[in-house]
């Protein structure tokens, strides 16, 4: 078969080539425009962190103010709190989420009843399917002060006094980690499980013949086989360590001001600053730091992943 290869001798755009590729560029136009509006213009908008934004003058006509917004941001303890919260919560989510995911994947792998296996895989993904609004309703059903399942049923059963969950910041690190685990463990398990079923069965057979028990098989076959997936998932999550699930930290604690010390993250801080407190300066400064730190983390994480497992990395 004759391949029509249109590799021109010169890299110059001849009229003929223009005509041929023009439809392609036209096709891409809507997507290009969208990326410019949705992604590239906001990148340029990061410069607003160095301006004193005044809506009446206009965004880009507003005067420059140097590092004033950043000085203002770090003039209180807030910045320390939301950076600390964002990073510590992410670390907890990464540890608990991945450990749970691996454990559940291994459990799923030992189940022989096909129906049970199938149904449980379907059901454990349901929490991942829900919006954080629905999640916040579920949490509210448990934690509501006057009617919640915790205060009305579980705590009395244990002989404990009711707790004002939405007023006591101390409980929220535990609550949010549990809620996140509930939302995400199914997702993590399915990811690990999909790697597990790819393991060649003959390894296990050979090991079993040699008298390897369950633990030996897990230690010497399963976990080593999962290693690239574990490293990849953990690194990619570390790459997103400066970002948080806005809904989980804003809506699940019901936007309660008393809980800010343990529920404020960069994303909720930026949102509240911009739309609730009209404190644009601090918001832009915090958002700027998130974008820059986020870029460094994502870039580094993917660089490392690409060394370990080329196909999983972004580049």
């Amino acid at each position: 078969m004759e391949r029509v290869k249109q590799k021109p001798q010169k890299r110059k755009m001849s009229l003929h080539r223009m005509k041929r590729y023009l439809p392609f560029y036209l096709m891409m136009l809507p997507g290009i425009i969208y990326l410019i509006i949705n992604n590239y213009m906001p990148m340029a908008g990061l410069a607003l962190a160095f301006k004193k934004v005044n809506y009446s003058i206009g965004l880009f006509e507003s005067p420059w103010c140097g590092l004033e917004n950043f000085k203002y941001l770090f003039s209180t303890n807030d910045a320390f709190i939301f950076f600390r919260n964002t990073i510590l919560y992410n670390l907890a989510f990464i540890v608990f989420g991945n450990v749970a995911g691996i454990l559940v994947a291994i459990c799923l792998d030992t189940i022989r009843n096909k129906f049970f296996k199938r149904v449980s895989q379907v059901i454990i993904l349901i929490p991942y399917l829900l919006s954080t609004v629905i999640i916040s309703y579920i949490v509210f059903a448990f934690l509501s002060g006057n009617n919640g399942f915790m205060n009305m049923t579980i705590l009395p059963m244990l002989g404990m006094d009711p707790v004002n969950w939405y007023n006591e910041a101390g409980y929220w690190p535990v609550i949010l980690v549990v809620v996140n685990l509930w939302m995400m463990f199914g997702y993590n398990s399915i990811l690990y499980y999909s790697t597990l079923i790819g393991i060649d069965k003959s390894y296990y057979e050979a090991a079993a013949v040699d008298g390897a028990g369950v633990w030996a098989q897990i230690r010497h076959i399963t976990l080593p086989a999962l290693k690239p997936t574990i490293i990849t998932l953990v690194l990619l999550a570390v790459g997103r360590i400066c970002y948080s699930d806005f809904g989980l930290f804003y809506q699940v604690p019901m936007n309660s001001g008393l809980l800010y010390s343990t529920t404020q993250t960069i994303d909720t801080y930026v949102y509240r600053g911009l739309l609730e407190l009209n404190d644009i300066g601090r918001s832009t400064a915090a958002g700027f730091m998130q974008s820059i730190l986020g870029f460094i983390c994502v870039f580094t994480a993917n660089k490392v992943v690409s060394k370990i497992d080329k196909e999983s990395s972004l580049f």
């Binding site: 391949r3 290009i32 949705n38 990148m43 990061l46 379907v122 919006s131 609004v133 205060n151 098989q217």
Partner: protein, 293 residues
Amino acid sequence: MICENKVFRFVTGFIVAVLVLVCLLPFFLLIASSLTSEQALALDGYSFFPSEFSLAAYEYIWGVKSDVLRAYGMSFLVTGVGTVISLVITMLFAYPLSRPDLPGRRALSFFVFFTMLFNGGFVPTYLIYSQIFHITDTIWALIVPYLLMNAFYVIMVRTYITSNVPNEVIEAARIDGSSEFKTLISIVVPMSKPIIGTVGLMTAIAYWNNWTNGIYFIHVRRDLYGIQNYLNSILTNISFLQSHSNPNISLSELPSVSIRMALAVIALLPILIAYPFFQKSFTKGITVGSVKG
């Protein structure tokens, strides 16, 4: 794994069974609470076993059904329109990127890819959409920001086309005089159905579950709220319900506690009913989307 140890298998099976229950029980709590009478709720709180059965919450919602139905309608509209536009833009972008001979292909791929590494974040995005494009309080606010095209899906579709639609087929169509648009529609799209289905499903779920665009950009026109935002405004503010209330029920009789749970159940049902039908593609979307599939 080869596991002849019955005790071990019993333990692992038991763990999975417990986790399945842990995933399901909160929904039973929602449903049971929504069916409990207001007095029983005041006495026992939300409970798995209603001591006093009542349909009052659902009767109340039936009274304000126009609000609930409109919110539903908005959710369906936004999800439908958003997903279709999104798929069209994504296909139109991915197909040229998959052509190995396209001049500027590397630069364009980088243009897409860079948006996954770096972004301006919420403040500039919000200010640009609201101050320059003025989409606040329009339906476009629910469709366009963040969700319309996902760079990751563009790359996924491009990779799929590269490895599943043979270049020879496309070249042959070109020699036969088929225009690029025609090739895309009559050859590439039919051969990419699996990936289109997966990406379409993930996009549709993202639209259906989205409520942040609503709180970011809808400040006045609450009639544009989809079901998620409607629910959200009720959870945070029960008086929102009261202001829309049915004149036949006085405020003191308002079964406010069970109503919340009943609304959550109503919002939850469509996705739970549809889930068994799309769970296969959903699982696939998850595994393809994160680690190589």
